[in-house]
Point group: D3
Chain length 251, copies 6
């Protein structure tokens, strides 16, 4: 997209900023799962509403042991909180200076949330008008309760923090980028008793050595499609409500 | 406590740092609920293991609309994330420089977590030894599943984020500091549909005007006692495991 | 105080923010002397003018050897200057956003001054209007010259920096919280020749091993009462002049 | 790449970090030119030496009027210097913590240099050993003088700062991603007299309204191939010398 | 001094860093009084001990109304506290990296103290060895009590904060750089009642419109010489004690 | 200059801020070359237009090996980028608060540029009006192509980065301050092949041990005069164009 095309869309398009991470996702998934998923969701949303997709933020906040395996795994490349907040703040400020009024941050990494929200708050906390408006969301908070029994048909759902490199992420990757999933390496590993506290420095034995927090068995591309359709629908509803946009059909 | 008393306990005591907030808690509870509760828990723990309690951190991270009412309520006095992280970092560094090896951070404010964890990580991320060791926890993650039906005997449990100025906090305050609870002002207010996204700037109509996210009716001091005993027992178990301390009896 | 009570007072009350420290105060006084004293003064002032008292800031700037014993004493838990400035800045900004126009910072710790002033300046330096207005003061600058001979009836006055854990602080603590003063442990220790320079890293032998910079003997609760009455009167005069408030009588 | 594959390469591979920008590149080139080019160079280098390519940094330092058009063009999304430095610092620190010893930063954006170098210096300035070692380079400093006459066969070479959206970048894009080049929109625009100073706030008339600093006419994919082969060869020579790596053949 | 000369002195010389300010000093003195005085003292000290003098820091911390006139006077060009601390920290770190073991900071500006001390503490707080050692001092703390009656022979001494553009500074400037003193413009102005608190934003009427806080009448070059000789002697004594240097005679 | 003189010139004078460095300049030139040269240029400019010269910034950004010898040389005392940016930002903000509308930053140190520009951008990036306006320049970008053959009459010109302690700087110092040039120590040293990349940590053998990057032989005071006159004329032209000032004659 050239700068003139970009400029022509500022008035009536939504800007979507995908934010992922570079983080171990078990022996069967690539390091970029969170970035790929947030980017793919952004494209799926842009099929239904007028939207421009910004370049993906490929590094995120620090993986925590009980939700992503933590800092001890190779390949987990984390930003300090202040760095992520500054990065998102600067980028959002530039978008707003360019005239964007409706911005959606689509995060694919559990630990990003607080620092993304901090950036948004620092940028807009003194603003009295409703616009520019920024929405911050992710896929896991937008899965309908109704489809959970279908996804977790063979094992119990144990909370979203545990769904790292597990059934939901594996299924979505099988749907989005099947070539990047090593199905033969999917494990049955799981944390026994997720702790009710955080410990510093982190334990070296809390997490299964595979890096998986919960079983990825019973993942299917079909479950992935089901999740994606559901989440996209729910997010489109949010966009209709908050941004008063209407759905369009791109072929 | 004089500096000589303090110094004499460094070797065989745990240091507990209570971290609260100054935040609206509906019409029936004081602004200091989170500080009071974290401080009281610290004292209850110190009844059972050798511990020194540091001065309470009375200001916390930014209240979020869907878990604390958000920034628009008067009396909610929030710190920026970087400020809270620096504050906790500096204080922890001084404790460790004084020789403390076993530190427990007891938080009473939902939104503090990411920024407290960031401070701990920044301080200890390059440490190879197991000690000094810092544990970060709170009361809600340490409530046993078994007692939930007793607490939520009249209404459904809707998740901890909703438990702001609601049954659990009100019950604990009725147990800890009954004089500070205006029982006649307890409301039945609740957020209708908690959002699955964050919005900036925040909505002025999302939250009930009382500031309560969920009903506080059916709160009792007895439920408060039940929660506190349960949480303290669970945290003592953590301390025994992580710090290899033994339980003592103070009369 | 609930958020509604707090909100109702914004228009015609002063907001007082007590700022103390956690610092060794010799063998006879607790670590929290500066916090306790600033808090007690805040309450004494609130007996005479309409005022709301914010939660106390319990940690302060770095104790200096020649005015507080310095960093080598256990129990002295110091903040970096930038941290204290950010903390005070954030809190003051929130108060002002809540509508407070008249704010008094009551400090009880000698070394805090420059960093408290920096926070106030950063917050208000571009403001053209007279209000919101922040006053920053402490007890030692508001003791009348006239009462010094009564306080220092047995020994010479050697400057406020030396009055650490000495006659004035000990006398005020005997008046405010006699239970926290170990009178039998009061020493006659003093720095021989206070240095005319600062040295980094600090000397380990400059300060008496008790941590007292000057004798605390001849302290009495009566002297404490005299100081407190005098300081409160002087601060009330300042508030009348700067905030055009009138004195009220609470019983 | 999974974390186990990544981990297996730490010992004998180079890590390449592509750093680009999001910046206007005239009416004929996309906003992501600098990111695309740095990424493509990384892949070309990885064809000849054992290398792992990290996710691309898609946002860079502020475009300057006389080398990129400056902040007034829509679509130019810039980071503050401190943000870029923190981002690169954090990412490099994590790579080094993962065990990487040989790191190449491949930049495609003229203005990034000082802030990338600052990150490297802050990270390694106290290191006494030769490794880990970081090399920072770009394509323009590695073009051999010998090929300049071939590239600039129709117009004069006016310095690299002027080569923004001009012959060299356009030719490389025609070679790397011909689909993204709107050849019909290539202009003959040029800055008349590039200034010998910087001005704040920037002039609105200094830069041609197309955003091109120099003509892109006479660009060809063949020139692009020539540049790329030359630059890759020169960078391979650097890697051989500094990292004592040997060239490999991937088919 | 070339880098080779500089390098040859690292082992047995003291390094002196003069720190001043750019601040109004009444109608009769130049803006650079504090820089000039600190530089001249550095040279006077270097006449008596082996010393290298670093370039002067010409900007200092914020002038306060009651000790320098404050921010409302034109020509008062102040640094934020964090900036001054970073500046001094960076410079000291480089000196220490170059091998200097004995460093003296000679300040000529009252308000600098806390932020200079902060820089020194941040740099050396974790150092266990005695060297490198940094001393931080100024001229006013090193004036012997004995000479005060000679200096203040016509008017009362009212404390060092008041000695801004008054007798001591004016006398020293008459001794050091008589050409820069407009003797005919010396005023009798003085603050009536120096406040016992700080106020933000500052009052526009607290300070005499000349910028002088106390009378400069009765200043003489002879008093200047007396002060300088006294202060230099006292600082030489400190250097002998702390750095175990011996006095040398340069002709 | 007193504050009243300074204040009287705000309306119709330019403010010039000289920014130098403290950096090795070979065996024949002093550490302060960049500060001296930027200061002397400021004075030369102030001979031709109405201007006030601010105190010189004597420390600059980090010397780079291939343009200044780098951090390994004693006497090179560098600031971190963030420090230099804060320093310049604070000082410029104060000048603008004092009413200055036309500011010229005159830099004498190659590596300062990006961080000086960052300070200017951060300060003025949201300003819509043309004034206050800041120009940032240096001497090397303002040398006319025409005089290069005269300067480089005996050796080839190899780019400005190489002109460290070489012919141009040595010639200007011979013109400005001949007493500070050790002509007998001028070397013929030069970097053989300037690298096309930066390396961290820096090489200890890249730079000639003298610290000179290129020969200083064939320097003359006459060449210095030629450069200075040319540069001053060119900068005066810029000032006339950007600030619409007219040339004045001071005798």
């Amino acid at each position: 997209m050239t700068w003139k095309e970009y400029h022509s869309k500022v008035e009536d398009h939504i800007l979507i900023l995908p934010v992922g991470s570079t983080e171990q996702h078990g022996p069967h998934l690539p390091l970029g799962v969170d970035s790929i998923i947030s980017e793919r969701y952004s494209h799926a949303i842009a099929q239904k509403v007028k939207a421009v997709i910004a370049p993906t933020i490929n590094f995120g906040y620090k993986s925590q042991p009980a939700s992503g395996g933590g800092p001890l795994f190779p390949g987990t490349v984390d930003l300090n909180g202040a760095t992520l907040t500054s990065l998102i703040y600067d980028v959002l400020k530039e978008f707003i200076d360019d005239g964007w009024k409706k911005i959606l941050i689509m995060s694919g990494h559990y630990e990003n949330d607080a620092f993304l929200a901090e950036a948004c708050d620092l940028l807009l906390r003194n603003q009295k008008e409703a616009y520019p408006k920024i929405l911050l969301t992710n896929w896991w908070d937008n899965i309908s309760q109704e489809i959970l029994p279908v996804i977790f048909d063979e094992v119990e759902f144990k909370g979203w923090a545990m769904e790292h490199a597990a059934i939901t992420e594996t299924s979505m990757m099988m749907y989005f980028t099947p070539d990047l999933v090593h199905e033969n390496l999917i494990t049955d590993d799981a944390i026994e008793n997720p702790p009710t506290y955080q410990r510093f420095p982190p334990s070296e034995t809390l997490i299964p050595s595979s890096g998986c927090l919960y079983t990825g068995k019973s993942s299917t591309a079909e479950k992935g499609r089901l999740i994606v359709d559901d989440v996209v629908n729910n997010i489109i509803s949010i966009l209709k409500k908050e941004f008063t946009v209407s759905e369009v059909k791109y072929v």
